[in-house]
Assembly symmetry: C3
Homo-oligomer: 134 residues x 3
């Protein structure tokens, strides 16, 4: 298992970590199986989406902000309850198949760390999972 | 790893791929572990829900269309930003436990490919993951 | 694979199952890999979020109820279509890395069974997945 350290720069931000994940998979020596990309935080998540046009991550974050406005009548006192909800909507992990040592991401796919309560120091765990070859 | 090829028929559609996934797991010879069902696209996802009453997938798509209307002030120029958001909400993969060679889906569960920007030719990857038997 | 049996107490409820999942992982003898926590139901899901302040799970459920009100024009006749939608939004599984026999949850993270159509008897499957150690 490898730990990726991040410093996010804004309250809400999608940070492209595709190359960092690919590097961790290469160092793990995984040939066939999957990479589990796990976020051990409760006001951040991880998602896979298009990394070619930067408008896409921007639009995803805009839509999430409209879905879960900070002005809902939350009871959590820290003022970041919206971030907790968004973290559950995105999820705490993605799992990407690996074949012949390569992440099987689609042409337009990238892996994004989803910051909802930054800027903060964050961590992402990458765990290699074994395939069940015949 | 096996690739399932699909041709979707509408802009938005939940396609039941349960039998296709079960076939891939059987061909992989997996006895105990899990099946990772992965969508390598950014305007489609995958989800597990009821496949008995066709009203359920219809209601899921209707609710998603209300959550993320195409009329939001998106900046992505291709007119399918709503599809990218819905893909992140559903997620790019599901993982289903396998025991004694059988997918451990619940009685009412099916695996659905979630098309949000069709009709298109699509692919789904099925990767067998090894269990950690004692 | 181990099955956790639950009895939920309300229509909508987040039940902290962290200790039950940790117990299943310990009994499986898993040292390095991941724990797949899988819900075989279509009106319930599973999510990871903060388990220190009980306001957080309450706020998550409140936000989901606003996102998917029961009053939408659903066609599913059982009156629980909102629960099916929420199940897909949360997802049917979470996967948590395991190292040296310990779930690698973050400091504030807990695993929650997400009931959206209770009270009911429910099951959660915990499957140990093998790591791909060098």
């Amino acid at each position: 298992m490898e730990t990726i350290a991040l410093q996010t720069a804004a309250r809400e931000e999608l940070v492209d970590i595709t190359e960092l994940v690919a590097g961790a998979v290469a160092r793990a020596g995984l040939t066939d199986g999957a990479a589990l990309v796990y976020v051990p935080h409760t006001t951040a998540g991880v998602t896979i989406n298009e990394n070619a046009d930067p408008a896409v991550p921007r639009d995803v974050m805009m839509a999430l902000a409209r879905l879960v406005p900070q002005t809902l009548p939350f009871t959590h006192a820290e003022g970041n309850a919206d971030a907790h909800v968004k973290a559950s909507l995105m999820g705490s992990s993605v799992t990407v198949p690996v074949r012949s040592g390569a992440l099987q991401l689609g042409t337009w796919q990238g892996v994004f760390f989803a910051e909802f309560d930054g800027p903060r120091r964050r961590r992402v765990l990458v765990q290699a999972l074994a395939g069940a070859a015949r």
